[in-house]
Point group: C2
Chain length 228, copies 2
DNA sequence: GCGATGCTTCGGTTACGATCGAAGTATGAA
DNA sequence: TTCATACTTCGATCGTAACCGAAGCATCGC
């Protein structure tokens, strides 16, 4: 009965709480050192080291040596998608690790998902882009319209350049907190970078949450209105 | 750092080889008894029983008592999608459990994926539907066109009726053997049922593969041509 | 009622892997 | 060179969970 690919291997890799925590932290897109990841996982560096070696051997992580540090990241976007999709699934089943805590509200409002904006703001942005006719939604799929392309140019995003990369321009990503889609892909990444560059928002040190400044908040809500 | 849903729990559930085998077998869509699943997992019934209880407690399985049998199925389509997406991921990383065996070719040609057609034939069918303008593909999304709706009516499928269900009509599902999309959703299910009803193909007892009769093969290839 | 079948629960064994202390390697700083 | 930092490897411990035999329920056929 051994048919098809081996999902048990990956399942087991993700199945350890310490490893799952590390992977979730890396979904934040930032490269982290072994010591930082040990903190995230609640274990010593030695243990973390063996975990990280396993994750790398399993193809989930990539590492980059830099001086005496070793920075770990998710191997590629596919890993990030897998983790996020499992989070979405888990959230739907009520497999929550804890009761809503203090940091939760900020996370639900806006957080980073690999390299793009997620949470309430991420969902709102996509809704608004669809409502304004900048993005076409067909089923699960998303496509940038001509109107969208010219609108984006106004805020300084060149969709044509993004299109040349092998990565899909628009991709929908299921949000585990909102249970609705937000915008991923290279366009999602470009938009978030744009907000950060403008100083509308900034990433936080240890968490995945994105903090908007009062002014950035105002601008964002103006740029992506929601009709009643 | 405990942020978000608990993916470790589901990872661990899928992470055991015996459980992974059972889940993969249930992706075949057929309801299986505990004894059958024990065989699939290569373990005794006692062990299988505890595994199944865990999977049910985790929300991955549903069971239905019928006489002295107990039939297990995946809890819902979301579970099937999760499993298939993990298979796609695993296949992409080369996490294969074994060298291609004797049953492989049949599986690659046509197999069942929860309740719709996958494998080479599944991919071909979707390609053909898109090429003929029956289905619109935008990004990852799929939508049935008016032409598609009337074409389907000719072979006896009422898309309007399917639309009334809560389940999406068209959904793309990544094929782990072909690494390309095939058609899922209620329409995917309806098409496969149609082929089975017509006697073009039949399911096999223990495997996920779908066997086409010579006549069914001819009809299928005629109905879903591929342009050079 | 009886025995047979399908499945679960209990008890005990076993093995694997997560864990950490301690020692070893590499890089940087002084 | 010497010390400090970042990380890995080694070795040993410990817990958990997978596993099966045997016994316990439930349901069917007779």
């Amino acid at each position: 009965m051994k048919e098809g690919p081996d999902i048990a291997q990956i399942g087991a890799l993700i199945g350890d709480p310490a490893r799952a925590n590390m992977l979730a932290a890396l979904t934040g897109g930032r490269a982290l050192t072994a010591t930082e990841l040990a903190g995230v996982g609640g274990i010593t560096v030695q243990t973390a080291s063996t975990h990280l070696a396993k994750l790398e051997a399993g193809g989930l992580l990539a590492q980059r040596k830099q001086g005496r540090h070793r920075y770990f990241t998710l191997a590629d976007e596919a890993v990030a998608r897998l983790i996020e999709s499992m989070m979405g699934f888990a959230a739907g089943r009520g497999h929550l690790r804890h009761r809503p805590g203090p940091k939760e509200p900020a996370l639900r409002k806006a957080r980073i998902c690999y390299d793009h904006l997620a949470g309430d703001y991420g969902v709102r942005m996509l809704d608004s882009l669809i409502a304004s006719g900048s993005i076409d939604a067909v089923g699960d799929g998303l496509a940038l319209t001509e109107k969208g392309e010219s609108d984006l140019k106004c805020i300084g995003i060149d969709a044509g350049a993004l299109r040349s990369s092998r990565r899909p321009l628009c991709r929908s990503c299921l949000d585990w907190s909102e249970r609705r889609a937000h915008l991923a892909g290279s366009l999602g990444k470009a938009l978030l970078s744009n907000f950060l560059d403008r100083g509308w928002a900034r990433r936080t040190a240890e968490s995945r949450s994105i903090l908007f400044s009062p002014e950035g908040d105002r601008q964002f809500l103006k740029l992506f209105p929601i009709d009643a």
